[in-house]
């Protein structure tokens, strides 16, 4: 089993609903975010292109954060989800430094916090909060090993990319082009 997410950049409008849904689902304190919106504009008016991406932890197959962690607080659970156990985290910041996506942050309570792919929901067979709320249904989540999962279906016959694959992290958020 390998969980992954595919995000259709042709549909995403960058409304940031995923961000606020994550905050309320996971009780992320105001002023912090586990996911965010990036906008890339290229060209010269009136020949302009725009790519909007909802970004978050890439739940890498080769997660540098897990390697950097001196206590084992950062770890990988079933399905390749990278998680942090607050009770083991000392807040040294090594994992934050190690992430090429800057996807981690220091929670005001001291431990390091990040996207969990809403594994508490996934365990119950539901989509992560960001996927479930998206008004454009531009996000697909599921098991990459299952060819009939939403994410596998979405990636069939579509061109896609991942962010900074050259970092060698083997990221698992895919952007459909």
């Amino acid at each position: 089993m390998r969980y992954a997410m595919a995000i259709d950049t042709n549909k995403c409008v960058g409304c940031a609903d995923c961000v606020v849904a994550c905050q309320t689902e996971n009780n992320v304190p105001v002023g912090y975010a586990r996911d965010w919106i990036a906008e890339i504009v290229a060209g010269t008016y009136p020949n302009v292109e725009l790519e909007i991406r909802s970004e978050r932890c890439n739940h890498c197959d080769n997660p540098p954060c897990v390697r950097a962690c001196p206590t084992g607080a950062s770890h990988v659970v079933e399905g390749g989800i990278v998680k942090v156990t607050p009770e083991e985290c000392i807040g040294c910041g090594a994992c934050i430094q190690s992430c090429p996506y800057d996807a981690r942050f220091s929670h005001p309570k001291g431990y390091v916090d990040k996207c969990t792919f809403c594994d508490h929901r996934v365990k119950k067979g539901r989509d992560p909060a960001c996927v479930a709320v998206c008004p454009t249904k531009c996000m697909y989540f599921g098991d990459l090993d299952d060819p009939s999962s939403d994410v596998s279906e979405a990636m069939k016959n579509r061109k896609y990319k991942a962010l900074a694959p050259e970092a060698g992290t083997d990221p698992h958020i895919f952007y459909l082009m």
């Binding site: 292109e49 809403c118 454009t136």
Partner: protein, 749 residues
């Protein structure tokens, strides 16, 4: 100038040190509150309760469920799967609606204006006293000038309750800025063509369309939820989108064609499209023959309005105009020329909407799948109350012979009738305002403030301190939509349906629901007989029972759908159909417009252009915010804390303006923004225009998160182009220039 009605900062109220503390402290405090919300991680299997609601952050009113944890704290709002407005997915503002509830800057107690040591201030009051003061003043005005001199300005749910009180009091002087400042022109333009306005939500069948044309409509940046969802569905199905916008909007980036039009020339483009579609016989011949009136006249009218003619005006290549005309014709009748929503631009907006309606008619899209469906709403019986007194005069008398086609009261006309210098036939003496922040909502802030100064009494009902509350004599704190019942939402859609809003928690502080305020105020005014019920549950249950449901059932389901009672949502092939126009047909040539003394068919008129070194101010939306009411919402501030002013890189280079630099704006009337705005140098905007989202630049210190964040576009809108047809306030004829140094205070607006 010393004014009678000093603006009172609500922060001046004995909150002392707390209010004085800086933004950082507030921030920390906010996050603490959110922190305590549901204790620790969501991992724990919290037992959640859910209560049906429909959203009050914007007018789309998506139905959803407010979730509370086992301690009864509100933790999240999730869409109701059965709701056609949200389809189970709230937009960012709806999801972030809990921030409205948790905002510690909320109005907490009733406030009464008083004078202390020569300085006007508010003092806390009990509900009883505050309502007493309002009743006393309203009755005084009633005795002196008649009840009609008390006017209501409402937006959203509270208006339906307070409107009832106002009517019972004997006044029909009631306006909703959502008409003359927003969607009025399209309602009139479409009604003149199809005999039916567009309404809300728009009956656009976007999910099944093959071609969606957006003219200045930025779906995706405006999060009109159902439409955004359907636009994404349409993209999935391979529909082509054509976007006409001087700005490379989000929608433009999803479009097959983007026409970067020169602002204010839309009618020329529309007429050229009509020309191509008629001259190349691309229109739906059978549909036009059967249902349309005035085709011959129209054909003659557009004869010279060629794409080449339009090119000189719009700067859009003739080939692009032709290509896009063919594109929509190929999709016909599954094509939508979207009427837009905020349509008050240049003062000839009804005519522009007429052109949009005509184009839709030619493509045969009205009443067709993939075009516009025939909407249907559930009608709920009114709870029986005595007939209210008939007013001696109402808003129609205020309009006089102006705005003949205005179907609803024009708020700016009511404002004008408040100012004695205008010699109004009937002068308004008092305002009751609910849910609308008039100084930022209406254009020409100075006029609004002047009108307020002339009032003998003003009461404001709101959940938050706003610019308008500072001018009130009495402020009443309304609780948020998560803490109250309101009337049933019975909006039109493909299927008729109803949605319930019920409280998920007790009102915070001393705030109260609008229905309670309306009833208690009514009782103070001696209008008990108009409120023959104990609480609103009684009324809702009575209504729901007659609609085939009950309050009990609605509490469980939130949304209930019904069968259509008035025929199919689409025209059947060749079906006889009578439109509610004078001719009974779709009027390409509008007899109604002609009878009222206006052009029966739209024509392009030249509008003002920016003077040298000035740029047209285009305002719009950022997806995380609505009006000016969400700017302080802690969750939504997280998404977008301040507005960015979009400037083309070429313009920025000329001015030496850097990205992220703060600048002030000055408009053609020498008005300068109170606060600076952060620049975003971007290729997404034309060089003759600038863009910024509306709703920021709040001057209320008590709005601790948003005070002074960015400029307010409303401050720059002093040149108002009133639409003679229906009184809409065109606001896009304002031009700004840049001040890179902080201007001296005395010149500031």
């Amino acid at each position: 100038m010393k004014t009678r009605r000093d603006f009172i900062k609500i922060s001046a109220l004995g909150t002392g040190g707390l209010a004085a503390a800086g933004g950082a402290y507030k921030w920390a405090k906010g996050s603490e509150i959110m922190n305590k919300l549901s204790g620790e991680a969501a991992d724990k299997n919290l037992k959640l309760n859910r209560y049906p609601t429909y959203c009050e952050v914007c007018f789309w009113k998506c139905a959803g469920w407010t979730h509370t944890d086992d301690s009864g704290k509100i933790i999240k709002i999730i869409g109701n799967d059965n709701d056609p407005h949200s389809n189970g997915r709230m937009c960012p503002r709806g999801t972030g609606g809990i921030g409205m509830y948790y905002d510690e800057d909320r109005l907490k107690t009733p406030l009464i204006r008083t004078t202390k040591k020569g300085k006007q201030t508010f003092r806390k009051a009990s509900w009883d006293e505050a309502l007493e003061v309002i009743a006393k003043n309203f009755n005084k005005i009633k005795q002196k000038y008649g009840p009609e001199a008390v006017a209501g300005f409402f937006h959203g749910s509270p208006g339906s309750h307070l409107g009832h009180t106002l009517h019972a009091f004997g006044s029909h002087t009631e306006a909703h800025p959502s008409y003359a400042q927003c969607r009025g022109p399209r309602e009139v333009g479409f009604a003149a063509t199809f005999g039916s306005g567009v309404g809300s939500p728009e009956p656009t069948d976007i999910r099944d369309t093959k071609c969606l044309v957006l003219i200045g409509s930025h779906i995706g940046e405006n999060m009109h939820n159902g439409q955004v969802q359907e636009m994404a569905d349409a993209i999935d199905k391979g529909a082509s989108i054509i976007t006409v916008d001087p700005r490379f909007s989000t929608a433009a980036s999803k479009s097959k064609f983007w026409l970067p039009i020169k602002p204010s020339t839309d009618i020329a483009l529309l007429m050229a499209w009509i020309h191509v579609i008629i001259n190349n016989e691309l229109y739906d011949k059978k549909y036009v023959e059967q249902y349309a009136y005035g085709f011959k006249e129209l054909k003659e009218h557009v004869k010279k309005m060629t794409p080449e003619w339009a090119y000189g005006i719009t700067t859009i290549e003739p080939s692009s105009i032709r290509k896009t005309a063919y594109e929509m014709a190929a999709a016909s009748p599954a094509a939508i020329i979207h009427p837009g929503r905020h349509a008050t631009w240049y003062g000839d907006d009804t005519q522009r909407e007429r052109a949009i309606a005509i184009l839709n008619a030619l493509l045969g899209s009205w009443g067709r799948r993939g075009g516009f469906y025939f909407k249907e709403a559930m009608s709920l019986p009114e709870y029986p109350t005595p007939e209210p007194p008939h007013p001696k005069w109402d808003w129609k008398d205020i309009h006089g012979d102006k705005y003949p086609l205005a179907a609803l009261p024009v708020s700016n006309a009511l404002v004008e009738a408040t100012i004695p210098e205008n010699n109004p036939k009937h002068q308004i003496r008092s305002w009751l305002v609910a849910g609308t922040n008039l100084p930022l909502t209406l254009p020409n802030k100075d006029q609004t403030i002047k009108a307020i100064q002339e009032l003998e009494f003003m009461a404001v009902v709101d959940t938050m301190p706003m610019e308008v509350t500072g001018y009130a004599d009495v402020v009443l704190p309304e609780c948020t939509y998560l803490e109250r019942y309101d009337y049933i939402r019975a909006a039109p859609h493909r299927e008729p349906h109803i949605a319930l809003r019920m409280p998920a928690a007790k009102p915070k502080y001393e705030s109260k629901p609008a229905w309670w305020i309306a009833k208690k105020l009514g009782e103070k005014l001696g209008l008990e007989k108009y409120f023959p019920w104990e609480n609103i549950e009684e009324v809702l249950d009575w209504q729901l029972y007659r609609a085939g449901s009950s309050l009990e059932e609605m509490k469980k389901v939130g949304v209930k759908k019904f069968e259509r009672a008035y025929g199919a949502p689409y025209l059947k092939e060749g079906e006889d159909y009578e439109f509610y126009t004078n001719s009974g047909k779709i009027e390409l040539y509008s007899t109604e417009m002609e009878n009222a003394g206006f052009d029966p068919m739209p024509s392009f008129t030249q509008h003002e252009e920016p003077p040298e070194n000035f740029y047209r101010l285009i305002y719009g939306r950022t997806p995380a915010h609505t009006f000016s009411r969400t700017a302080n919402n802690p969750n939504l501030v997280d998404l977008k804390a301040e507005p960015l002013l979009w400037i083309n890189p070429k313009v920025a280079r000329i001015w030496g303006i850097e990205n992220e630099q703060y600048i002030w704006l000055k408009n053609q009337d020498d008005k300068i923004t109170q606060f600076p705005v952060k620049v975003r140098v971007t290729e997404r905007i034309r060089w003759d225009s600038v863009f910024m989202p509306h709703g920021f630049g709040h001057s209320i210190k008590r709005l601790s998160r948003t005070y002074g964040k960015g400029a307010s576009d409303a401050e720059m809108i002093t040149n108002v182009k009133v639409d003679p047809v229906m009184g809409g306030t065109g606001m896009r004829a304002n031009f700004v220039t840049f001040l890179t140094e902080e201007p001296k205070t005395e010149t500031r607006s």
